[in-house]
Structure formats: C-alpha cells, structure tokens
C-alpha cells in the first residue's frame, strides 16, 4: 500500500472516531443548556398539552442513551430531525446555509494564502529593511483585532464613507439566480450570468477579507519567521557560496521547508474560520451556517445544535486531512515514516 493511501486510511479512521466522540459530547452538552426545548420552541404561552406532546415526539423524557440511540438510527437514515427554530428538517437548513459559509470561508482561505504567503516571503527576503518592518506592523494589526472588529471597520470605511462595496447580503436584490449548488459564485456561472457573478464577487470581498485578516497576518508572520530561520541553515549558506541566484534560493531552498509548519497552522486557521465566521456573517447579513449555529444554541434547538456541530466538525476534519496530505507531499520524511511503520 502506498504511504499516502496508508496515511489517508489512518487519518480517516481516527476522523470517524473523533466524529463519534463529538456527536456524543455535543448530544450531552446540548441537553445541559438550561431551558426546556419544547417550551422554548412552542413559545411561553403554549398549552401544557402541546408542550408534553412535543417532548414526547422528541423523546425528551426517555433516558439519555435511548435518546442517543434514536439519534444515531435517524442519522443512518440521513435524517437529523426537525429544527424547532425554523420548523424545517435540519438537513434542509444545513443544505441551505452551509454553502454560504463555505463560500465565504473558501474565499477567505484563498485570500489568506494569496496575500499572507507572499507578504511573509517578501518580509523574509527583505528582513531588516523598511519593507520587513512595515509588513510586520501591518500583519500585527491583522492578528491583534478580532474579525468582527475588522468587519465593522471595513464596512464603515468601504461601504459608508467610501462607497465601493455593498453593505450586506450575498448578491443584489435585482438578480434572481436559481440555486443549484448553493455556492452563488458557482451558480451564477452555471446560469451563464457574468454580471451576477461579478456582483456576487463584489459582495463577498469585504466579509471574506474581514474574516481573513487575522489569518493573513498569522500566515505572513509564520512564513517570515520560518524562512528567516531557514536562511540561517548551512545549506543556504552553501547555496549562496555557490552563487545561486537569490530568487532560486528563496523559492527552492528556503520557502519549501518553511511552508510545512505554516501550512499546518493555515489549515487550522482555515477550519477555525467556520466557527469564527459567526460575527462576520451577522455584520454582513450573510445567511450562513455559523449564524444559524449560534441562533439554534440560543433557542436550545437540540437537533439543529447537534447537526450543525457535526457538520462543522466534519468539515474541520476534512480540512485537516487535506493539510496532512499536503504536508506529507511537501515533506518526504512523513511519507517515509508511513512506509517504515
């Protein structure tokens, strides 16, 4: 078996165990949150009979493990139950809200890599210069303020004072795009509507940038520090002594080993954005899963809480898996260690 496939199988196995653990944990935690979910769902003035009937329907009076059993049985049928918040199947809610969040996070991730890495490389190659100092200062700002602060600041600067970007939503009201994948950037292209695609891009830039700023700062600083460290290695000195061009040294000998730890952190940052997207989604009225997740927690919507957390966990695990694979491609030692084991 190839080392990569062995790594993939190993990681998939542990991911399944993690998901089972997460489901049990969140299933228990959701039930510890104060409040009767049936009462919250039906409203403070609902009759006792209606509340009792809903409790029965949700198996809330059954022992914990029995409830978990019902949940797993439904899950295997692809049913996450009914959301008491939206009165729709949780699956339908997730299918509707997840693409919006993923779209936002993916664009943020692209910004993180496309802006963070070059900034880090530039800073490392010009270490000690004014370019380096400026990049370090700017990236420090990105890291030090949370995404929602940037969301409000960017909205004020570029939507209110200088009217360049739209304030809220995923696309202007004038466009009506049939939902195929739920990803507006894809659906607009599938519909062959370039104007709508441009409009969707125009809408995603500001929220994605607000969400990515912290990651950009972190990626840039990490790549810089790793590259600076690598520049001190004897093999770089040797390359310099041989008269290799600086560009080649930077790209081939300094960047590649520096990318390995950076990639792991970027991967974690990317996955963490799924959770931290909530406030950015709230500020930009972005109808995503993070916002839905917080709303269902506040209303103790048990099925929706468990469903949302499971989906976010699954995406988190998938991202980590991809990062592991990328790292093992970049670093032959990991591949070889799989073969040896």
């Amino acid at each position: 078996m190839s080392p990569l496939i062995r790594l993939l199988a190993k990681r998939l196995g542990t991911s399944v165990i993690v998901l089972i653990g997460v489901s049990l944990l969140i299933f228990a935690i959701a039930r510890v949150i104060p409040g009767d979910p049936a009462r919250i769902a039906l409203g403070p003035n609902a009759t006792t009979e209606a509340v009792a009937a809903l409790r029965g329907k949700l198996h809330l009076d059954a022992p914990f493990l029995t409830q978990y059993g019902y949940f797993i049985a439904d899950l295997f049928r692809g049913d996450l139950g009914l959301s008491l918040y939206t009165n729709r199947p949780v699956m339908a809610d997730i299918a509707q809200f997840l693409p919006a969040t993923l779209e936002l996070v993916i664009v943020s991730g692209i910004m993180m890599v496309a802006i963070g890495l070059p900034l880090g490389i530039l800073s490392a190659r010009r270490r000690g210069s004014w370019v380096d100092h400026t990049v370090r200062l700017v990236t420090l700002l990105g890291v030090s303020a949370p995404a929602f602060v940037w969301a409000v600041v960017l909205m004020l600067c570029f939507s209110y004072f200088i009217k360049i970007f739209p304030i809220a939503g995923r696309i202007s009201d004038t466009f009506s795009i049939p939902s195929v994948t739920g990803f507006l950037l894809v659906d607009t292209l599938l519909a062959g509507d370039i104007k709508a695609f441009g409009n969707a891009v125009w809408h995603v830039i500001l929220p994605a940038f607000a969400l990515a700023l912290s990651g950009i700062g972190q990626a840039a600083r990490l790549v810089r520090s790793n590259m600076v460290e690598t520049y001190d290695k004897p093999y770089i000195e040797m390359a310099e002594a041989y008269g290799f061009p600086e560009k080649r040294i930077a790209r081939r000998y300094a960047l590649r080993p520096s990318l390995i730890p950076s990639l792991t952190i970027i991967g974690l940052d990317f996955a963490a954005m799924l959770g931290s997207a909530f406030l950015v989604e709230a500020v930009y009225a972005w109808p995503g899963l993070s916002r839905y997740g917080v709303a269902v927690i506040l209303r103790k919507d048990l099925n929706a809480i468990v469903g949302t957390v499971l989906v976010i966990s699954a995406v988190f695990l998938i991202v980590n898996l991809i990062v592991d694979l990328l790292v093992s491609i970049l670093n032959p030692r990991i591949r070889l260690s799989q073969r040896a084991s």
Partner: protein, 528 residues
Amino acid sequence: MKMRFKAVAAALLATVSLHGVAAAETVLRLDEVPVGELDPAKASDYADSILMFNLYDTLVIPKAGQPGFDPFLATGWETDGKSYTFKLRTDVKFQSGNPLTADDVVFSFQRMQALGQGLSYLFTDVEKAEAIDAATVKFTMKQLYAPFIAALSRLPVIDKKLVAENLGAGDGEMKDWGQAYLSTHAAGSGAYKVVSHNPQEETVMAKNAGYFLGLAPKAPDTVRFRYGLEAATVRTLISQGEHDISSSWLPPEVLKSLAADGAQLLQEKGTTGFYIKLNTAKAPFDDVECRLAVSYAFDYDTGVRMVGVTDTVSQGSPSTGAIPVGMLGALPADQVTKRDVEKAKEHLAKCKYKPEEMKVDLSWIGEVPLEERFALLMQANFAEIGIKAEVKKLPWALFVEQISKPENTPAVSQVFVNTMSADPDTLLYGMYHSSSAGTWMSPEYLKDKDVDALLEKGRTTTDEAERAKIYTDLNLRLREIAPTIFAQDQTAVFAASNRVSVPALSDPSKAYALAGFGFTFRLMEMKE
C-alpha cells in the same frame, strides 16, 4: 405635417413616461429579529405578527386612533354575551382563488386550538365554533368572556381547501394540520402574498392583485422583510438608502444618529409596558412595605432619559401603572409614578426586614442589553436607601426555567409585556391572576384576592364603561400593593427612510392599539 410630427412625438414621449412610471416598482425593505414564522397559528412575536397582518385577514381589526374594533372580514356581529354570531363578507377570495366562507373560519379556530401554540391561549374560553351557513359563523363561549372580540384580531382566517390539499404526515384525519406546508407557504386572503421565504434571512412579499379591498397604487409593490440584521448594518443600510424601516430593537444611540442623518422616527405607543417585577413569594418582597420602598426609590425620570432618542422622541414614557396610557382602564397621563426617597425610607422603616439583612438579586435578560442599564440604575437607587443588591445576567432560557419555582425566581426581574390583542385582560390576567403565577409574565407570584376578583370581573363584564372602571380600580389596587415597579410605558421607535410614509406609526389619529398592526403594508405609501 409639423403638427402631426409634434403630436406623434408627444404621444411617444407620453408612452415612454408612462412606461417609466409603470416599470418603477417600489420596494419596501424592513427588518426584525428572526425567525419569521409564517404559520399564523404559531405566530407570537413581532415579526410573526407583521407577517400575519399582511398575509392573512381577520374577522375584526382595531379602530384607528381609538380603542375598539371594527368588522373586517365580517360585516357585523350579534352577541348575547355567551355567543357571538358573525355575518361574513361574500366578496372575499383567498390568494388561491378559493372563496372565503364560514367553514374556513371554523377550520382556522379548530386548527389553532389543536396546535395549542402561539396565541391559542386567547381562545381557551371558547367552547366551539360552527358554520351556520356559508356566510354565518357562530362562536359559543364556555362562560362570559368580554375580551373575545379583541382576541379575534389574532385569529387569521386560513384557506381550508388549500391546506387540506397539502397535509403532511401525521395522525388522524387532519394529519399535521398543514404545519409543514404553512411553514413555507401562506394560505390567506391578505393584501400581500409570499414570493419567497427563508426564516433566517428574509421573506419577500408582493401585492395581491386580487385583494378584496383593492390596493392603493402607492402601497409598496414588493416588500423585503429581512431578519437578524445587526445594528451597525441597519445603521449603514439606512444611511445609504438601502433599507427603509428598522426594527424597534436598535439602541437609542443608533436611532439618534440615524435621526441626525435625516431619518424619520416612527413610533408605536400604548401597547407595551416595561415592568420590573418583584418576587412576592420570598423575602424581602413578600412584605408590601419593602415593595413600596423600592417602588418609591426607583428613579423613573432617569429611566426615561436613559432611553431618550431625541428631545421629543423616547423609547419610553412615564408610566401611570400596570396599563399603558391610552388603553382601556389606564390612569391619566398626569398621574405618573414618581420617585420619592423620603417615602421610600418611611416604608423601608416599616418593613419587617432590615436593609442590611436583605439579599436582593437584580436580574436582567442577557439578550436585552438595555436591561443591564436599568439593573445598574436600580442598584444605585436601592443603595441610596441602604439596600445592597447584586446584578445578575440571565439568558432568556435560564430565566424561564428559574421562574417556574418561586424559590428560584430572582427577587427582581425585568420584562416587556404587550397586550397581544389590545385588551387589558390579555396584558393583566397573565401577569397578576394567582392562577397564572410562575410564567415569564408573572414572576411576582402574586396572590391577592382583590386583584383576582377584579380580573375575573373584567373578563365577564361586557359593558365597556363598566369594564374601564374595573380596570382603573385594578390599576389603583396594583399601585397600592406594588408587586411591580411600573418603570415606563414602552414606545417602540423605528428609524425609517423618507421614501416611505407610515401614517399608522406617525399620526396618532391613525394609530392602532394593536402591536404590529401599524405595519400593515397596504396602508403605507412609497414616495418613489
């Protein structure tokens, strides 16, 4: 030839202008807190009410600028006190094209009772509803129930035939009573129909061309009802002309800055009170003297100033008691509750508990940050008479759970309560009748025979003047025993762009005493 050319040119110009006018669709954009509940039998909060009043119609609607109700889907009614017979209009059609008949009214009532959610509690005293003929419906009460006509303003009439064609899985003849269908579709006769609905994002509505009353040309063609916008987002959207009416949940500072930018401030008064509730079931507020002490210690004027928006508009006005000024039984506006520290100290001296022994927890609902300011104000006010109090934040879900037992109920709780049906009974019975204790509306756990007797009399008295007297007496009794600090009458303030005119929220002579009814879109006018 020249004349003919001019005539043709003029005709062309006129055609182009007319086309321009016809094509200029007006869009109203407003927001509320999520989630927007489309099913009228589950409607209970403000967003749901706005949807309900526009997608569905009711037998009666509130009178403009005064208390009382006018027939709407009904042409009139007769009553002997225990039963009400309504004659229906015969020219009303649902949006599906089905005619609206007495069967639909009966079905709507039965559905609300069967689901037992939303505002179904308003109809617990109704024994049955029956269709006498296609245009006559009769409701029979279990006992005399004077607020029934007011309650009918919350019974939207649903298209029975359409729902029957779309029943989801469930037990019995009516299966799920169309719950799955009505959570995403409307089945009403209202002036607006649903174009799309996402309970977390927005509901888009369009004019119902077949509306039985016709629709004013200036009423908005399309309405985009958005959910869950942040204050900063609404602030920016309105400033940029991309939003028309905010929710009433914006902080006073944001409303003030929008007003300074030229936004108009719409107001809804006389439907809601802000109540600071004292737990009468445990020390120290089981002693009326202690309750009166803190009632006199509270700084009402500062409370009103705290929610001031401009010099003339505030989110609160001085209260005269349990019933907001303007509603049946309210005390006149010149009898406001006032701070009197000396009186507070006198009552405290008569209280069986010493201030230093008192353990007072001042709770505020985590989802309503404004209440924290009131908790801090109370903490300072109570400290002035020697009572030390601790401020405690409670999420709504935890609050509702805690108040189910008097021993767990905080000494002081803060809630906003509105009438739901414009009748004082729906406001007061749930708060102060001893049988209602222990809900979010009644953390006082009040047990007072006089209050109970007046509340029961108010329900069974059909003469309006007599009812007004009963509720005035009740109001005075409640001020006397002070189970609640009547902090202020709430004014819902909405910031709005100048593109829209909303007479019901800007002209007191056209205002309705029913929360949310001012957002009847057919009565609004768009200016462009």
